[in-house]
Homo-oligomer: 352 residues x 2
Amino acid sequence: MKHYRIATIPGDGIGKEVLPAARAVLDRVGRHHGLSLSYDEFDWSCERYLAEGSMMPEDGLDRIRHHDSVLLGAVGRPGVPDHVSLWGLLIPIRRGFRQYVNLRPITVLEGVPSPVSRALPGEVDLVVVRENNEGEYSQVGGRIFEGTPEEAVVQESVFTRRGVERVLEYAFDLAGRRGGRLTSATKSNGIVHTMPFWDELVAERAAEHPDVSWDQEHIDALAAKIVLDPARFDVIVGSNLFGDILSDLAAAVAGGIGVAPSANLNPEREFPSMFEPVHGSAPDIAGRGLANPLGAIWSASMMLDHLGHAEAGAQVMDAVRGVLASSPVRTADLGGTAGTDEFTGEVLSRLP
Amino acid sequence: MKHYRIATIPGDGIGKEVLPAARAVLDRVGRHHGLSLSYDEFDWSCERYLAEGSMMPEDGLDRIRHHDSVLLGAVGRPGVPDHVSLWGLLIPIRRGFRQYVNLRPITVLEGVPSPVSRALPGEVDLVVVRENNEGEYSQVGGRIFEGTPEEAVVQESVFTRRGVERVLEYAFDLAGRRGGRLTSATKSNGIVHTMPFWDELVAERAAEHPDVSWDQEHIDALAAKIVLDPARFDVIVGSNLFGDILSDLAAAVAGGIGVAPSANLNPEREFPSMFEPVHGSAPDIAGRGLANPLGAIWSASMMLDHLGHAEAGAQVMDAVRGVLASSPVRTADLGGTAGTDEFTGEVLSRLP
Ligand SMILES: CC(C)[C@H](C(=O)O)[C@@H](O)C(=O)O
Ligand SMILES: CC(C)[C@H](C(=O)O)[C@@H](O)C(=O)O
């Protein structure tokens, strides 16, 4: 019997509703595969910030450093500036644990309508590999002449060879194991220091991966093409900001943010990886049992995969696909009337 | 009789095919409105760069400084790095002439199919106002430890109070004259120096424009919403990079980049403004008479508007709408078989 200790951080709003759904699914499929999963729950959140002045304790990372994985619901709450919740919790974990790959699979599932008429189930199946540790998200920069007409701010993007190489290596490897195609998101025509550097490293990595056919697209044109012809993409790799934008966009093309999962991976497994749905805390529907748990359940399936239990992960996704393709049970964001529990129950009923 | 001197820069590829189409339309409608238009053509292009080592002469800006407008086709050519054509021609004009507003109207036209099923003619009619002079497009930055494992690059984004205020002022004004709604593109949760500053200035400007209802969205969520529900937007204002991405994306939602126009405006009219289609030089179809001139013709209509001839501009767009809505004549990118000339002829035939 394999034992795993999972740190769970439900966070705010619907995070607290989708996380139990993911756990229920994990427990069921785990039992079938002889996995023993135990959970330690942490109340790190905007609520905690309002009560105690910080999103997590100072030694937060140390408390979860030896867990096998982190499962996160969602963070964010009206009244707490978004950058507080991000830089007080998400970014320290992503960086502190060298989770330099943010993996976002985007698949049009049968039974989930897409706003894009050409985005058909079985045709759109891509993965966005987002650099998750450096780039445009940086603390470096500041403000000058505050409060005067000459006021100005600067913000530094920082890209390192090591940081870019490792995420590209991951993306080329992944493309080699998937459809053999990689698209790099760039903007080397407008952003003249970091993006030409990114392009150079892509070309270098490509030379080491002759099995992968690759191209690059400027981010503006790429965003357009994801809408015009989503089926043409296999693996898309982008910087922290570009990956963030493209993955939300592609998730919308695949039927909405409520469905999309993500994995923050430390591929070397020196530190725990973190799994979280792409959606936010959705204060407008929080507390009413209406949240779509699919993003969280899909993220849990990615966690099983990462822990080495690909078959268990696939069973979870088969159950989800089954519900969507052959039952009317779905949450309101997908046009249904089911609540979180009903949908989760339907998934559970299709698991061995 | 009003006389206007227009500087034309056909540029590369299909730029040289769509510019004559725009001129033909301008001449026809100008004659009807008693406008005398004369053109000075400049061969500034990647072709010139390959032959003479620069995209334009050193005193380029001085040669067109006293023209009433600039009409540009497209620049870019395989073999010339994109940043050369951009920083050697487009950016110097945009900055040198303080064209700090990049205006990109996005309308779903009847007869132009959209990839997004909910994007219907008469419902989607938005304008992206892009900051066009500063922000993420900057020369500031560089590389350290080149060629070593420690290699790193930094890129500085620079936002000034003056630069942000003036484009926001334009955007709020425009929203006041249109549907009264403004959406600001931000990413203040991830990009912690420039974007919170941007948000502050939006809130300041908003207080001066109580007639406009406004909100802000993070760029990732906004990209998704433009696909999920494009009809909800009126004026979207964004930084240089965000405006670039969102306008290409919204143009795709409205049926493709081949249709989209843009205006680089110096609202104070101290310098000429520049009008250019959003599409590139399309080397794959260049020289074959297949290019869609609609983006260039629409840009010419925006030029008439800017020069104070709104009625003439509207007549051009009425003619274009007429062709698309009630004839099968359209270019290959819109599913038709017409060439550049045939489409242009059809537009001309509907002008007074
Ligand atoms: C040529 C290119 C760099 C340019 C830009 O990003 O400004 C183009 O995409 C545009 O939108 O005009
Ligand atoms: C919370 C937010 C800032 C975050 C990000 O941009 O990384 C989110 O959009 C995501 O994609 O995980």
